[in-house]
């Protein structure tokens, strides 16, 4: 087994992208994700790749469009306000069926907000922050190891569906250091990119990459084709992690940093004799709704409790999944404030008491 090394979340994402074959990175600096472009600037040239600091986030995402259209593996990263600027580019990538990986290391908002960690971009990431009927796979790591592994897989997922994939982290996951191992990530069988705007060499017709459809029902046909892809993603790309859900009376639901906090809160509650479990969604879209509902239906479960670094966004997906089978509670801190595990434990216990 390879030796463990100490990596920062952001650095690990950057190296993972290069290992996955990413050769182009376009971006603009913003805290707390700056180590990603810094690492890319230092290391992409070593593998013959190109790092370019664009004049703005908008320019960066459109450079991503260009490189993806040429069939390259390409990535951009930013933090919340910068990701807002990229939304037009993201919906164009989806409309034009272009694969790319977009990393959001979330900070507090709205607006310029704060540089401290937050999870307030859940709606934007999972509902589509741009215009039109679209979806992107959203992956949310909660360890540095997972950030590295999911980044590599994200490139395969993007290529498989010809659709951008979002890696949604928060400032804490991006900035913290943890031991991790670089290991082989299983690669998917992917079709050649016959659609890319590479040279025809006189052997084929032109490839055109475009999201504009003006031919009567053409756009609806295209939308239905895209919807087939969403259905396939919902079937194949749902992932989650479970801890201690057997015989649990309280099920925590949390992702990223809050899943780490909830796990610490669970220890405190267990000392008080409360049996707790954790369902940690890894894919925020598609959401592990079916599994969550199955857990909620268990007779041992009294309540479901969601924790977020926001004032309540993912909790809507939790309520949709649980469908009133069991009461759903929520606790969140926002604006860059991180709750303590004790605070979470107290809030969860108080909620559970109402339904015991």
């Amino acid at each position: 087994m390879a030796q463990k090394e100490l990596w920062k979340g952001n650095e690990a994402v950057a190296r993972a992208a290069i290992l996955a074959g990413c050769r182009y990175f376009f971006g603009y600096p913003i805290t707390p994700q700056n180590e990603i472009p810094e690492y890319m600037a230092a290391h992409l040239p070593e593998v013959g790749g190109c790092f370019l600091q664009s004049e703005s986030e908008v320019a960066a995402i459109n450079m991503v469009y260009g490189a993806a259209g040429a069939g390259a593996r390409v990535m951009t990263s930013s933090s919340s306000p910068g990701i807002s600027l990229k939304q037009e580019g993201i919906t164009y990538l989806v409309g034009s069926e272009l694969p790319a990986v977009i990393v959001n290391v979330m900070r507090g908002g709205p607006g310029l907000g704060t540089i401290q960690p937050a999870q307030g971009d859940y709606f934007q990431a999972t509902r589509g922050g741009g215009n039109g009927d679209y979806r992107t796979v959203v992956l949310a790591p909660s360890t540095v190891q997972e950030a590295a592994d999911l980044t590599q897989e994200a490139f395969d997922i993007a290529d498989q569906y010809r659709n951008p994939v979002l890696l949604l982290m928060d400032g804490m996951i991006g900035q913290m250091m943890e031991g991790m191992v670089w290991h082989e990530i299983p690669r998917r069988e992917l079709p050649p990119k016959r659609w890319a705007t590479t040279a025809t060499e006189g052997k084929r017709g032109k490839n055109i990459i475009n999201s504009w459809r003006s031919d009567g029902t053409g756009l609806e046909v295209h939308n239905l084709h895209l919807a087939e892809k969403w259905r396939a993603m919902e079937e194949n790309e749902v992932r989650w992690e479970e801890r201690g859900t057997e015989e649990a009376e309280l099920i925590f639901v949390a992702y990223g940093t809050t899943a780490r906090l909830a796990a610490a809160a669970m220890k405190e509650l267990e000392k008080q004799g409360i049996r707790c479990g954790l369902l940690r969604p890894i894919s925020l879209w598609p959401y592990p709704s079916t599994r969550l509902c199955a857990l909620a239906e268990r007779t041992s479960v009294r309540a479901v409790f969601t924790v977020e670094l926001s004032l309540g966004q993912m909790v809507e997906d939790v309520r949709l999944a649980v469908e009133g089978v069991k009461p759903v509670g929520f606790f969140g801190r926002a604006g860059g404030v991180i709750p303590t595990p004790h605070e979470i434990a107290e809030q969860a216990r108080a909620f559970l008491e109402q339904w015991r």
Binding site: K4, T31, N34, Q116, G171, M172, Q175, M177, G179, L261
Partner: protein, 234 residues
């Protein structure tokens, strides 16, 4: 590494090498030994995991924090306070100066070069052999050289701070000791100490040549428990 041997200690190194954890522990050790001490947090590169987040714990050990004249430990304005001059001018006080990572972080101190009396100053290079960018002698020596050139000061000691956060094993420290000695041989800069978590000190006894600096973890992640077992004395 004799505690309080020099009045000022400048702590530098690759980013993520553990400069802040070492600095906070050093300042607290000085404070506990009864020496009036200030910790200067000069990290204006990265606003996460900075010494200023631990003002309360520093205060408990009698350490004064000098970080920013702007309110709040989270602010990302790269401004340094005039209060910083206190550590150079007040010769009755010990000072630990915690810089940001790499040569970029070291640049913040270059502006105070004229204030620094080299005869009363130690400059330490913190090394973690488990960090990817300083895992070889060549990489670490290059990083050290870049920092020295920006700082305009010579590094006077290497601190082996090789760890894997909560997963650190004695082998990590030993592996770091080998790298630190290699850099020492190459640069002529001595190894100042080996940083060992207090829980590993007994186990490591006799396995390291050179001084051991025992630490506890102050720069915890928000879900990690306090690392003091109710005891603040190391």
């Amino acid at each position: 590494m004799k505690l309080g041997e020099k009045r000022l200690t400048i702590v530098t190194g690759h980013y993520g090498s553990g400069k802040t954890e070492f600095s906070v522990n050093l300042a607290c050790a000085l404070g506990r030994s009864g020496r009036p001490c200030a910790l200067c947090d000069l990290d204006i590169v990265n606003p996460y995991f900075r010494a200023r987040e631990r003002e309360g714990e520093l205060g408990k050990h009698g350490v004064r924090l000098i970080s920013s004249s702007l309110l709040g430990p989270e602010n990302d304005v790269p401004a340094l306070p005039a209060e910083l001059f206190a550590v150079f001018q007040d010769k009755t006080r010990y000072g630990v100066i915690d810089l940001g990572g790499d040569e970029v972080g070291a640049r913040a101190l270059a502006r105070f070069r004229a204030e620094i009396d080299r005869s009363e100053t130690k400059v330490l290079f913190v090394l973690n052999a488990n960090r990817p960018e300083t895992g070889t002698t060549e990489q670490a020596a290059a990083c050290l050289e870049q920092i020295c050139s920006v700082l305009g000061l010579d590094v006077t000691g290497i601190v082996n701070n090789t760890h894997l956060c909560g997963e650190t094993a004695p082998e990590d420290v030993l592996q770091g000791a080998v790298l630190a000695e290699e850099i020492a041989a190459r640069t002529g800069i001595p190894v100042a100490c080996h940083v060992v978590h207090r829980k590993l000190v007994k186990e490591m006894s006799g396995r390291l040549s050179g001084e051991v600096f025992p630490i506890q973890i102050y720069m915890r992640k928000p879900w990690e428990e306090e690392d003091n077992d109710g005891k603040s004395e190391l």
